[in-house]
Amino acid sequence: MTMVKELRGVLRLPLLQFLVLLLLIAILAGIACSQKQCVLDPDIWWHLRVGDWILQHHAVPHNGILSRTGSDRPWIAYSWGYEVLLAGAQAATGLVGVAVFGLVLVLAVAFTLFEALRRVSGRFWLSCGLATTGCYAFLFNIMPRPVFFSIILFTAVLALILKAERSGRAQPLYWLPVIFLLWANLHIQFVYGLFLVGLLVAANLLQRLATSAGIAQHRLAALQLPFSRLFFVFAACVVATCIGPYGPTLYKVIYGYAAASFTYRVIHELQPLDFRSLRHFVQLFLTAAAFYTLGSSKKMDLFRPLLLTAAGLVAFRTMRDSWFIVIPAVLCIAESLRCESADVEGRSFLRTAGLAVASGFVVLLLALNLDFNARGLTRTISGQYPVRAVEFIRSARLDGPLYNTLDWGGFLIWYLPEHPVAIDGRNDLYGDRLDFQFYQIQMGVSPHEADDILRGSRLVLLQREAPLASELNADPHFQLVYRDEIAVVFARR
């Protein structure tokens, strides 16, 4: 018994908790530095170039810039805020700035989740465990991109909602319009957060109706937050999302994404969980555990089950959205295991600043030892993208127009800006029809001779293993002018 008490005392030591947090941050940073996903994402490059364009023109684009097939199509840079920040990081420190920006985003997501869990549960060790499990489930499914801002802000919004519900005061929710103003200018998935607030309002209304009708009164928890204030906050959030260079046009893009179908068949991150990786099972069991804990609570409210259900339906559809179920799930679990006596707000500024400084030092050490520098990053990029093929094109002064594949379009926008790309990862710009056309040609399903875009191209840059490359090899109209272990370049005869 004494030993247990002593152990509890040790576990409460601030220094031990500080060191554990530092260790977790070091592990995350170590994984991020060694994988270097922040420079492997095919989309990050067009974000970077668009950011440059915005800084250069002091305006946001309204059509398909940097593309030869989409230049006359309407397009908006809905992540313009992120793109400007990324371009700023690159302007300041070059490629290392881009990588560090991604690394900071990874760590910020993890820390936000931990902090939200700590505030909801009041337990350090539980928060550590759940944050680690949650991060394991979703953090490395996707590469550091604007969606990371969505994850951070979603976590903050949900934590504020849970805090408001717990305290019975609507004041924490007054921050939401400000958050949404920021969010709508950083990433399109602000709509997930808006859904969250809308669901809170709807659940509150439904619960009021159920109570007044005398349905399941003994099971439903008492409502703390007034409906009128919630509705006011929701309306303010909607208005806030329309404040920005694009105004309400953002909602048109959301509709376009919702109606897309082809991308959900071929883009890897939009595929469902394949359950061949442990992290997918972790996501599954976190969801199940969250439902289990909701069921075990004496009183139920409608918001949490509805949120978990809706989030589950969305998140199991695509790997990219895993976070959308994992975060509510871990927060629900943490809430059900909440320690009422804990002081959850009492993290001093000094302690946070100390953690930040120590983390920065540890990350620096890791970066130095894991080749996380300009040379290492360039080597990593060269292993995945056609760096040498592009240098050949540039040195041989080959003429366009260029034909490229979807996977490399983003990179070519950044690395070969003198040749506008045929296609890239901006699915909202090209649409299902054009994406499908490119895919069919690349995979050799449709005859390439009949493709207008390929016919109008003088320069073709492809993955070496692409079925189209084999076809062009046998096509007398094209000549293979360059080949390495990654890419092949064809020029029209």
Binding site: Y264, P272, L273, D274, L284, F291, L294, P305, R317, P467
Partner: protein, 496 residues
């Protein structure tokens, strides 16, 4: 006072009078009818891939009075092969001899109705009519069995097994466990998934033994003293019963081999659930509902069962029925435990009525189906809309030379329709092995030249899908001459 109120509430849930009972039976009959017929309106069972090799194997078994041990009907006759579905194949072939192609849709209907009935009974049946009906409808919507296949039979047996095990846990009546080994004798002859049943039985037994040892947690029939002997007898009996087949212990070998197969990486039905259709989401909701109810009414065995079934079904869409049936059982058990137990002791005659309703519907469906589907030519023309019937006729009538190179999706059909040409590949992935299957897929996807596939290189006749990339590849070969082409298939022969 409260006891009286509860009892009165329990009474209210029972329908009073003959009219209510008749309404329930009619509703149930309508459900069975819809469940049986809905998937078969366009005779989908005749357009599916796997059923044909089951038929061919069944005919072979009938002819040879033994089960195959090697790759019959394929170009790899020396490869070892265990037909884990020999009982099903035999049933299919026997029915085919009586009713011809009409037996396929009839068997599909029969399996669906039986499964609907088994799930309804598992979900407490007439004792909690509306809950059971709703759960059975949800389950039926998520199953998506499109052809008469062994997995449908396995699902029925799995539902019966769970019903028996849960009932034993409630009542402690050891005689119920006597039926379990018999169930496994049947199951092991129908499908390799009998392993799932054994795992579930072992799980129940382990939990029962632990509870008897510690006498804590749930106090139910299965944790009484002496239950351990019953559990051990049931487990040992069932494991031995699975060997009561012509393959003896090889049935276990085949089961383990299929689990270690690399086919999970490349066969569509062995991939994870894709969450692109409504029934996938319905399955997820059913499972989450089960976990939610478990939170209210804690039961270790239910949690363990659901936690074990969930990853299996989500990782392998072919086995989605496992978690659906487990969820139904868990929800029904949680609801049964959560309310007055008096309901569970409703007169057995009510359940008998449900079973009679299922049997009646089945008889009507099979009888009317047999009458309506007596035109064999019309059925074959339905098959010809999906499979290369005319191209195969061309091969046969022109005496084109073997060996044949065929599409994967057609291999099964060709084993039945064109038995004189052993197939280069078919859907028996366990027979061909990963190397052959992956080489074929690489050719199909255009990643390697067709000549790299030994079966393509040695073939003298080629039967490929019209409009496919493989057809393009075949047409590009100067040493191949197209001898037949229709809107489904292209036939080419080697001219060298």
């Amino acid at each position: 006072m409260s006891r009286v109120t509860k009892s009165a509430r329990g009474q209210q849930e029972q329908p009073h009078g003959a009219a209510a009972r008749t309404a329930h039976i009619a509703m149930l009959a309508a459900f069975f009818l819809v469940a049986g017929v809905l998937g078969e309106l366009h005779l989908q069972s005749l357009t599916q891939t796997d059923v044909w090799w089951h038929l061919r194997t069944g005919l072979w078994v009938l002819q040879n009075h033994s089960v195959p041990h090697a790759g019959v009907f394929s170009q790899y006759p020396s490869l070892p092969w265990v037909d884990s579905n020999w009982g099903f194949d035999l049933m299919l072939a026997d029915g085919f001899r009586w009713l011809g192609l009409a037996f396929f849709p009839l068997l599909a209907i029969a399996i669906r109705v039986l499964l609907a009935g088994a799930v309804f009974v598992l979900a407490s049946g007439m004792r909690r009519f509306w809950t059971a009906l709703l759960l059975a409808i949800c389950a039926q919507l998520t199953f998506a069995f499109q052809q008469p296949q062994p997995a449908g039979c396995a699902a029925c047996l799995f539902a019966i097994l769970l019903a028996v095990l849960f009932q034993y846990r409630r009542s402690g009546n050891a005689r119920l466990l006597l039926a379990v080994p018999l169930l496994f004798v049947l199951w092991a002859s129908l499908d390799v998934t009998f392993v799932y049943g054994i795992c579930v039985l072992l799980l129940f037994a382990a939990v029962g033994l632990v509870q008897e040892r510690f006498r804590g947690g749930e106090q139910d029939g299965a944790s009484r003293r002496g239950a351990s002997t019953s559990w051990l007898a049931a487990c040992c009996g069932s494991i031995v019963a699975c060997m009561a087949s012509p393959y003896h212990y090889h049935a276990w070998g085949a089961a383990l081999h299929s689990m270690a197969s690399g086919a999970y990486g490349y066969v569509g039905e062995l991939h994870a659930i894709r969450f692109r259709q409504v029934q996938d989401y319905l399955l997820l909701l059913l499972v989450m509902c089960a976990f939610y109810l478990l939170g209210r009414r804690r039961s270790f065995i239910s949690v363990a069962l659901l936690a074990a079934a969930l990853p299996v079904s989500l990782a392998i869409q072919r086995d989605r029925w496992v978690v659906v049936i487990v969820s139904v059982a868990v929800i029904a058990d949680a609801l049964a435990n959560g309310r007055a137990k008096g309901n569970l002791n409703a007169p057995p005659g009510r359940m008998r009525e449900a079973l009679w309703a299922a049997a009646g519907v089945l008889a009507v469906l099979v009888g009317s189906g047999a009458y309506l589907l007596r035109d064999q030519d019309a059925l074959l023309s339905r098959v010809a809309g999906q499979f290369p019937v005319r191209a195969a006729d061309c091969l046969r009538s022109n005496h084109l030379p073997a060996p044949l190179f065929n599409e994967y999706q057609w291999g099964s059909f060709l084993t039945w329709y064109l038995p004189e040409f052993p197939v280069s590949i078919d859907s028996r992935v366990d027979l061909y092995g990963d190397e052959t299957n992956l080489t074929y897929l690489a050719v199909m996807n255009g990643y390697i030249s067709p000549d790299s596939d030994p079966s393509f290189a040695r073939a003298r006749t080629f039967l490929v899908r019209h409009g496919s990339s493989l057809e393009q590849a075949v047409l590009n070969q100067p040493w191949l001459r197209v001898v037949y082409r229709d809107e489904i298939a292209t036939v080419a022969v080697r001219t060298e």
